[in-house]
């Protein structure tokens, strides 16, 4: 499967993230990081993108019914869109609060579920938006300059 599309002025990477596939969490972020390295983007920005993508990947895998991560590199801007197939977040303000988490014991055993994921994605990115329709989907958009 070819996840990488390039045309004249932009590069698009798109990766599916499966629900509850714990062993594969991080594969997409790892690939994203490798491709950004090849594009000669500065290391500190790659690091911020990698952390945010990984946190998002963890979230999609552990909380959702599955979804995808799409990274678009246009000129000097990196945009990440993360969208899942639900079940959506009832209260996004509450979800953004540090320490708030609905993660299961299984997820906590993996070292996650501390309620730091969304705040950390916001911290790492230059622009961050979260949109969710409860019962339908959650979509994150992040920009890195």
């Amino acid at each position: 499967m070819n996840n990488l599309i390039t045309d004249d002025d932009r590069i698009i990477m798109r990766y599916e993230v499966a629900m509850n596939d714990f062993t594969r969490i991080g594969e997409a972020s790892s690939k994203i990081k490798r491709i950004l390295r090849q594009l000669n983007i500065d290391n500190s920005r790659i690091r911020r993108v990698a952390i945010a993508a990984y946190e998002a990947e963890v979230n999609v895998a552990i909380h959702s019914l599955g979804g995808y991560i799409e990274v678009v590199v246009v000129e000097d801007e990196i945009n990440i869109k993360v969208r899942d197939k639900g079940p959506g977040i009832e209260d996004t303000d509450l979800a953004m609060k540090k320490g708030y988490s609905t993660a299961s014991d299984k997820v906590r055993e993996l070292g996650f579920g501390a309620g730091m994921g969304l705040p950390n994605m916001k911290k790492c990115s230059d622009e961050f938006t979260i949109e969710s329709v409860y019962g339908e989907y959650t979509e994150l958009n992040m920009k890195f300059f």
Binding site: F22, T23, I25, G26, S29, S30, K33, N43, R47, A50, I51, A53, Y54, E55, V58, L110, G111, F112, G113, A114, G115, M116, G117, P119, N120, K123
Partner: protein, 141 residues
């Protein structure tokens, strides 16, 4: 008597400076000896000057902002993924734990050095801190 006290004071000041201000650079080879550890994979000729201990990868991702040694009791592949995203070069597994072969293999591919020790998280951190490895400075909002 007064001289004795002053010497002791000088000794403590020097010790404080070396421990807290100069942040001694320590080779992983020395780390390995201090914690009576075993090298699982990777290069021990790397030098580090700080360490961060946690079993919570969420916190590692949220707080670590520079290259440091990660000390943890967690041995799944997400520890390696976390290190990879943060560009960390070394991990110490404590409490005698050994990760699975595929986890070690992943670290090898990512060029991350893995050490293990029988000591607890507390003891491992204490030994290394006492010998001059610095703490990561964490800034809260």
């Amino acid at each position: 008597m007064a001289v004795d006290i002053n010497l002791n004071l000088c000794y403590n000041i020097v010790k404080y400076i070396t421990n807290n201000i100069m942040e001694a650079i320590m080779e992983l080879e020395k780390v390995l000896n201090l914690i009576d550890g075993e090298l699982l994979i990777g290069n021990i000729k790397r030098s580090m000057n700080t360490a961060f201990s946690s079993d919570l990868m969420s916190d590692v991702l949220a707080f670590v902002e520079e290259d440091t040694v990660l000390i943890t009791g967690l041995i799944n592949n997400q520890v390696i993924r976390t290190a990879e995203m943060l560009d960390l070069k070394a991990i110490i597994f404590v409490r005698g734990k050994v990760p699975a072969e595929d986890v070690i293999k992943m670290a090898e591919i990512k060029d991350i050095t893995l050490l293990r020790t029988k000591f607890t998280l507390f003891e491992t951190s204490g030994i290394l801190y006492k010998n001059g490895l610095g703490a990561l400075k964490i800034y809260h909002e």
